[in-house]
Symmetry: C2
Subunit: 685 residues, 2 copies
């Protein structure tokens, strides 16, 4: 592949000669050898990743023994498998390392990369490489790192025809024309990227399981799926499949898919037996059931616990999991009906089932109650089911946040959700503690997220959108990392150590969510997008639809009354003090006002502005700030890879143009509807 | 094929035993023999059509000689070819029969079906069959019929992949999976239906000519196209092709498609030579150029006359025509720009070229200035180019008029356009006289229309939508026919002679346009449909688009100011008195008010109602009337074919449901926007 066409492919694992002298000396200082004693798959991967990256950076391949000349070297291995490793730590130091965790420690000329398991060593190796790329000294190195979340999953929404639902970076790297691709080398490179940020599970097909994908459970596809699983296994990642709840019928084996039917149970047990016979570490099934026209237990008068447990029973003997999505709502809603509230749906459906799910079932709950809007409150389901395992689901692919044509660094948004205090067990009952299982002492928990990668050479279309994939993985490992800290890490690894570049990219990333929010749907109301593809403004695009996604703007005001007193009652799904806070327009935060309340255009925000003036001001400012992104990026010319610069430039230019379209459509819509002029007399149409 | 699956296939040429005794006696009385003397393709077709239909109706096949027993019989032939035919008419009587015209005359026991040409005889035969199905006595039969229009064309918007652009009746009957279908028997049956109403030309591929269709001019497709031409020729229909103006480039032959380039001219001449070598009566090319992203002469700084004439020159030696569409406008308009007016575009583009087109060029002009909306004014281009041949283009396929799920009998709409007086040569300068060429003494003129048929067994999806195809052909032959007269003709042929059935279907057809208009976009403003597929209400669906299709509704009023004084000036494209009439809101007819003027919601119509109350009233009434259509249709149960009844019932039920959706979305939109309540206090949301 030509350089231009390849630009961005290496992402944050750049294999280029390091030119920064300080960094290069650091690397040279500590990487004279890599020594290991164990014949473990993951440790082998760790060693080869270390050797390859170091060779690429320095031009010198580390030896596989302790170097004679006294330079620094690496010893890698597990506490159980390597006496040399074990000797470097106390019993207590070893005992606090969890399954995927690791310790890094410098002892004289040695750097130890130590884990309880080979997988831990692999994560330690990538952590060491990250230190080489971002740090400045190892003298004081003594680090313990355990992942906060046991499950750190990626969901591919890839279809076997090669398309990707909500994919904005080309076609699938997994599939083409109804088949799994022959050459899995790109899948391997993806696995490497994922492992480097700690991902340990991947669902390789879309949650909407169509006809051909239903056959993934059959001989037609299984042999190739085994190969894919092998690729991911090398990098410590377990393979999961999305399944079709109606598969027993659709594959022609049974007349029913009733989860309480014995033949159905046996059918799934037989599938499990086959799967685990071929993929002993198979992760499990992801299920979208009774949602948006997908089949599910409701067809048979059963509930979600019946459905999930039946599958869970089939996988339990092998240690498999059922990941059950909670994205369940009435998608045939009548827009005239103001009593039904889609935001309530997940909570209403699932909380009555708390305690009924088997231990190997995990509910996958979207961060917000709607669907990955640029701004939503946190889903009240977090914390509402203390006797149920839960994953928090994010969307890395930017469906509603600019589709990788606009810059939107999502880590700050995710952080906000994770740090939200549910107060379920008093202060400090944050969502991240619900997700990781610690708040209620659940055995399983973690993160899931929809990937943003595709066949584009740079993986994500927008070169800076790689930061979201990177950031997701890092956050799943450690939700306490800061958004800007992650951004700096990613920037250094991707673009090198130039301060100006780091400062510029950091500023762009950190401002981007706010910029995007400012020129799109205002004050948390969401959904003002063109139907179906969801790109670009259409204020009424979903207003008269069946999807439960309304803003109720009229000539007097706008917003959805979700209070208990006069509205849908959604605010009451939160624990105190949020239930009281969201109940009143006076105490609801400005950025969520229209999500919770219908208010007149002249309602005054905490900011002191009226709603209508806030709309005008943010939209004029937002479009200006989008213009500034172009300027900021242009300032990087000559400082970063030319081809990546060009990739970014065309995106930023499109964003700036499109932000104006957003500005004008939104402002004009509200000017026409309210008849209230802009205080500053700027152009409305 | 089973009866149910086949229902409606015979359309208005029903081949069933006639059960009405009066009608049966009439047929038996006059069809004892069919006598002809000429070995002419079309006369042979005429004779076999007569014989087959009569045999099917009566169970008795006419003899091919004068019956011995004294019963009535048919003599068919041309004045030149049959001395027996010629003897029955005076020189003068013969001289007034035009090329496709015919005479029907009863002389004693003889009925003469006579034409100047074999094609005329064919049309005469179908006219005789129509009389048999609809009339009650031939005693006084002495009819002269000449077509008003020399060109009576059908445009198929079929793609070679089998899809049909704006098709609502299944897949193409011409193409499947990139090939012309093997079995052309359905194409033959379609040709028969078309010939029976006088169609004499068909363009067999979509005006948007994609990659594969561009190759229709090559050896890959030509041999099969010849076969299709043969099928149509049997029924007197000439085959036309839509061509891609950039074909010389796209087929890889030339680096340019510049119409003034000699190599390009030669290339098209060579194509013409090939085509006419295989299809001697090939009709010509239909061209959509420089429109909606199609290539055209503008690319080379040439104009439409340059483009059309270059092609015309290639076809002229063979008598071929260039049909050049005038649907040219800026489809990348900025919605913020209120000066550009799509309605003006065709007039502005083409009137400066008047007189520059060759004689074998015909401009194809849509009936209205926009695009087949339920209500538009007549295009001011009609009459504005006295030195140019013109076709009026209608859309039989119901893109914007309910997509064959709603009933909308379009003949009344077409009649209104045809009867519109342009005043270009004083009173009586109707559009139909522009179209037929008589107003300016043009050699060529006529009708073109986009077909509404597809692979559905009943051709048109909605069983009553057949009436539009039928009516189009009849109107192209004789624009003076009345809409209800055509409806009665069609109903009798399709459903038989039961008075109750005829009255019911007639009432449904004749009210349907008004019903559809009443619950959709009000007062001529148009375009309040969901983007792309155009089905269902979306008031702002095209409001912020690039397509030039706006209503400019705000909290105070609605409509497009197209006056000369304060608006886009479009009203000035009409001749007096229309230019004055449309210039003022006071004199613009209610039904077009919002097409020409932006008025406050409380503006009072000639009807006495305010605009806003008119909107509410028509929408409530329209939805009620749609409900009544269900009742009317249900009353036909047992009176018409059961399968056709069921086909219709599900459509009428859908229409009634969907009319409520239209009612509520439109009313709610304007209630929310205007804040003005319904005077009658009905439910708005």
């Amino acid at each position: 592949m030509k350089e231009a066409a390849q630009a961005g492919y290496e992402a944050w694992l750049r294999k280029r000669t390091v030119t920064d002298q300080t960094q290069l000396s650091l690397i040279m200082r500590w990487t004279n050898g890599i020594v290991l004693e164990e014949d473990d798959r993951y440790i082998q991967t760790a060693a080869s990743e270390l050797a390859e990256m170091i060779a690429a950076w320095t031009g010198r391949r580390p030896s596989d023994s302790v170097p004679g000349d006294g330079g620094g070297w690496l010893r890698i291995g597990t506490f159980m498998g390597s006496s040399e490793v074990a000797r470097a730590f106390s019993e207590e130091e070893m005992s606090v390392v969890q399954e995927d965790g690791f310790r890094l420690r410098r002892l004289g000329e040695r750097v130890l990369i130590a884990g309880m398991t080979g997988r831990g060593v692999l994560y330690g190796a990538f952590a060491f490489l990250r230190l080489m790329q971002t740090g400045d000294s190892l003298d004081e190195l003594d680090e313990l790192s355990n992942p906060a979340n046991s499950l750190r999953l990626i969901n591919q929404w890839d279809n076997v025809d090669g398309s990707i639902e909500r994919g904005y970076s080309g076609q699938s790297i997994f599939y083409a024309e109804g088949e799994i691709v022959r050459d899995l080398s790109r899948v391997r490179d993806y696995a490497r990227l994922l492992a480097s940020v700690g991902i340990n599970g991947i669902v390789i097909n879309n949650v909407n399981v169509h006809k051909l994908e239903t056959m993934f459970l059959t001989e037609k596809y299984l042999p190739r799926i085994v190969e894919v699983a092998n690729v991911f296994r090398t990098y410590g990642i377990r393979l999961f499949l999305s399944i079709n709840f109606a598969a027993p019928i659709e594959l022609g084996d049974l007349p029913t898919a009733d989860p309480l039917d014995e033949a159905v149970k046996d059918w799934w047990k037989e599938r499990a037996r086959e799967l685990y016979g071929r993929i002993p570490d198979f992760g499990g099934f992801l299920v979208k059931a009774d949602s948006e026209f997908r089949p599910g237990p409701f067809t048979y008068g059963r509930d979600h616990a019946d459905g999930a447990n039946m599958l869970a029973e089939a996988l339990a003997p092998y240690g498999g999991l059922i990941v059950w999505r909670c994205f369940v709502y009435n998608c045939n809603q009548d827009w005239r009906d103001r009593k039904t509230d889609r935001a309530r749906a997940a909570y209403d459906h699932f909380t009555p089932l708390d305690g009924r799910f088997m231990d190997n079932v995990v509910l996958q709950v979207k961060n917000g109650p709607m669907d990955f809007q640029v701004r939503e409150p946190v889903s009240p389901l977090f914390g509402a089911m203390p006797n149920t395992n839960m994953l928090i689901e994010f969307q890395i692919t930017q469906e509603y946040t600019g589709q990788q044509r606009h810059l939107c660094y999502l880590v700050p948004q995710w952080k906000e959700a994770l740090d939200f205090d549910t107060y379920l067990r008093g202060e400090g009952s944050t969502v991240k503690k619900v997700a990781d299982g610690s708040l209620f002492g659940r055995p399983l928990g973690g993160f899931a997220a929809v990937s943003n990668i595709g066949s584009d050479a740079n993986w994500t279309g927008h070169p800076l959108a790689q930061a979201n994939l990177y950031g997701y993985g890092r956050l799943a490992w450690d939700p306490d990392l800061s958004a800007d800290g992650i951004a700096v890490e990613w920037t250094k690894q991707t673009f090198g150590h130039n301060d100006y570049v780091i400062r510029t990219v950091l500023a762009m990333l950190m401002s981007s969510w706010g910029v995007y929010e400012s020129y799109t749907a205002p004050l948390g109301v969401g959904w003002m997008v063109k139907p179906n593809h969801h790109y670009g403004p259409d204020v009424d695009g979903y207003e008269y639809s069946m999807w439960g996604t309304y803003h109720f703007a009229d000539c007097r005001g706008i917003g959805v009354d979700r209070s208990v007193h006069t509205g849908t009652g959604y605010a009451g799904q939160y624990h105190s003090p949020h239930s009281e806070r969201f109940e009143s327009a006076e105490t609801t935060p400005d950025e969520l006002l229209l999500f919770f309340h219908h208010v007149p255009y002249r309602h005054r925000l905490h900011s002191g502005k009226t709603v209508i003036q806030h709309i005008y001001d943010t939209h004029f400012e937002g479009a200006e700030r989008a213009e500034e992104l172009v300027d900021q990026w242009e300032g990087l010319k000559g400082y970063i890879d030319h081809n990546i610069f060009e990739q970014g430039l065309s995106r930023f230019q499109e964003q700036a143009e499109h932000a104006k379209e957003w500005r004008d459509v939104i402002n004009t819509y509200f000017w026409r509807k309210s008849g209230i002029a802009d205080e500053q007399g700027r152009t409305l149409y």
